[in-house]
């Protein structure tokens, strides 16, 4: 029983972070039809900025409450980077073939990877104090870090918030209209450029938030972005590219399979994930929630 509870919670923890990354990727694709290969690097930026900020504040003797408040710093940093990147680098590519969009984001990936190395160096950064402050609680006889529960909560809240934002607000309506038919939306007076920059920024914010909440529990290391991107791809392939419900379902599937994999079949964990993705694609070519 304890075994199941712990692994179930770990799976949820993992799913939360994956949803934040893959949800952002999917949102951006849904609105602007581009895949950002550097999306994982924005997750990494979120992790590094938060770890660095909290580390600096902790050294300066800031109280624990302040450290907690500094946690979202990484998310805002990633959002800021996104807000700069979209109009400068991506906008010239919307009318070009998709190959070029993938290539320019691949170039961006190489650049960001080295910039992270340059700014924060090769040593792992961590914000462990926040994690320790939460302590641990006992659930049906098993001790579990309370911080991990907070991460799960953040994932669920982010999903609810995003859903409400997209399906229950005026901005969401405009966003969906642009996604359905960019020209029509533009003709009806929607400022498409502004929607694009907002959607991209939100997507990057989510990735950055994923990085920010993960970093008290584990350290920020070089290459974490590239690894995360691959898993985010599996999530969106299973769930359907451009669908938030799909990202949610996909993140849960990948989270649970991975947790089971780590416990039961560690060597072929990634292979099993892709096998599931391949089966989903054969049954539903556009993914579970995708529009063909």
């Amino acid at each position: 029983m304890e075994f199941l509870v712990i692994h179930g919670l770990n799976a949820l923890l993992y799913s939360s972070v994956l949803f934040l990354i893959a949800g952002g990727l999917s949102l951006i694709y849904g609105v602007m039809r581009i895949i950002n290969l550097a999306h994982g690097n924005l997750y990494a930026i979120g992790a590094f900025v938060t770890a660095w900020t909290i580390g600096a504040a902790a050294n300066a003797g800031a109280p624990n409450a302040v450290l907690l408040l500094l946690l979202p710093a990484g998310a805002f940093a990633a959002a800021a980077v996104g807000a700069i990147l979209e109009p400068t680098l991506l906008r010239p590519f919307y009318k070009r073939p998709e190959e070029y969009q993938l290539l320019v984001t691949f170039g961006l990936l190489m650049i960001l990877e080295d910039l992270i190395d340059r700014v924060w160096g090769p040593d792992p950064l961590s914000a462990g104090r926040v994690y320790e402050n939460f302590g641990s609680i006992t659930i049906s006889g098993a001790r579990y870090p309370a911080y991990n529960l907070a991460v799960i909560a953040v994932g669920i809240i982010a999903a609810l918030f995003l859903w409400a934002f997209i399906y229950r607000t005026r901005f969401g309506v405009v966003l969906r209209a642009t996604s359905q038919n960019m020209r029509m939306a533009s003709a009806l007076g929607v400022n498409v450029n502004r929607i694009y920059i907002q959607a991209f920024t939100i997507g990057c914010f989510m990735a950055g938030l994923g990085g920010a909440i993960v970093v008290p529990g584990q350290s920020a290391v070089l290459g974490m972005g590239v690894d995360a991107l691959i898993l985010a791809f599996v999530v969106v392939v299973i769930g359907g590219l451009g669908s938030l419900e799909g990202a949610f379902a996909g993140a849960l599937i990948v989270g649970f399979v991975r947790e089971a994999g780590v416990a039961l079949f560690p060597e072929i964990e990634l292979a099993v994930l892709y096998l599931i993705a391949a089966i989903v694609l054969f049954v539903r070519p556009a993914g579970l929630f995708g529009r063909a």
Binding site: E98, F106, I230
Partner: protein, 330 residues
């Protein structure tokens, strides 16, 4: 009309010879003229040239952007390493045969899934599937050597034992061997893209619906192109393994696929020889960038961004532009 066509054919053949002959002479003379460093760099360029040539059958001729060609290149390299380690094989010809076989099997398996899609989806599927191989190479370290990789000794060529001095062997014997395989690959690819099959691929690239209407079985053609492309990458991987002396997961990881794409775009994927030019240019660029700064990724990434922004047709596109300007002076 047909006389005109033959004339044109003869002229283009003549033109090809005009620039191909000096290149061939230079490549043949290279080991005796330049030092081993340049010979080896040149060899890496030739080897990657084969891989990118194969890759471009998909991108340039079929219109499919694969972000997973590291899988087939890596499969070729690891096949060689496994044959050495587990079957004590030392013959390069057997390595090539084995690598082609394995990369064909893997690209067939992956291709069946991937060719159901096009555009971005095709790209991320090829990428994602290639990562499976990488993770297997990484996790089954007792079989694959993990991140340390597997050692690949100097092979015997055409049944003759290799020279005792490894540098001597690589820079002379092996160089000419690689050059010969490269030449064969270029000719085979030339024949493929100019065959009815190659034309059908281009028809699919330009208009899928029309191609289907004139009776081309799109998926099957794409799958065949995918497998041929994978086989070329496998050949390149097999040649690369003894050159590098080590098969490591570095050639399976998807960022290496990105480099293959980079090479094709750098050279210009709209031209037949663009990929070869790109592979050469990239190999030199990377060799010098790595020697020049630890932040070589930053440098190459910037080059790539500038390239797609300013010169989307790559080096060959630029050359064509220049040639056109010279021919029609204003």
């Amino acid at each position: 009309m047909s006389a005109d066509l033959t004339m044109q054919k003869h002229r283009s053949l003549l033109l090809t010879l005009v620039w191909a002959a000096p290149v061939a002479v230079a490549l043949l003379a290279a080991p005796h003229v330049v030092g081993p460093f340049h010979t080896l760099t040149l060899m890496y360029g030739l080897v990657f040239g084969i891989a990118v040539l194969g890759f471009n059958l998909l991108l340039g001729y079929t219109g499919l952007l694969s972000f997973g060609h590291s899988a087939y290149f890596g499969a070729g390299a690891y096949t060689v390493a496994f044959m050495v380690k587990y079957f004590k094989v030392a013959s390069m010809e057997l390595f090539l045969a084995g690598s082609v076989l394995i990369s064909v099997i893997i690209s067939l398996l992956f291709g069946v899934v991937c060719v159901r899609y096009t555009k971005i989806f095709f790209g991320i599927l090829t990428l994602a599937l290639s990562q499976v191989l990488w993770s297997l190479a990484f996790k089954f370290f007792w079989v694959t050597g993990g991140t340390d990789g597997l050692r690949v000794p100097t092979p015997s060529l055409l049944g003759t034992a290799p020279l005792a001095d490894k540098m001597e062997f690589l820079a002379f014997q092996y160089y000419y061997y690689v050059l010969a395989v490269f030449t064969v690959c270029v000719i085979v690819m030339w024949v493929i893209v100019h065959s009815p099959f190659g034309k059908a691929l281009q028809a699919i690239r330009d208009n899928e619906t029309r191609a289907e209407f004139i009776g081309i079985r799109i998926r099957r053609y794409r799958l065949i192109a995918f497998v041929v492309s994978g086989a070329f990458a496998g050949v390149a991987g097999a040649l690369w393994a003894p050159l590098n002396g080590l098969a490591t997961p570095d050639v399976l990881v998807w960022t290496f696929s990105g480099e293959i794409v980079f090479m094709a775009v750098l050279g210009g994927f709209n031209s037949f020889i663009g990929p070869i030019v790109g592979a050469m240019a990239f190999t030199y660029l990377k060799t010098y960038a790595v020697g020049f700064t630890v932040y070589w990724q930053l440098l190459l990434g910037t080059v790539l961004v500038v390239l797609v922004l300013a010169l989307p047709k790559g080096i060959m596109g630029m050359v064509e532009l220049l040639v056109a300007k010279v021919r029609r002076p204003r």
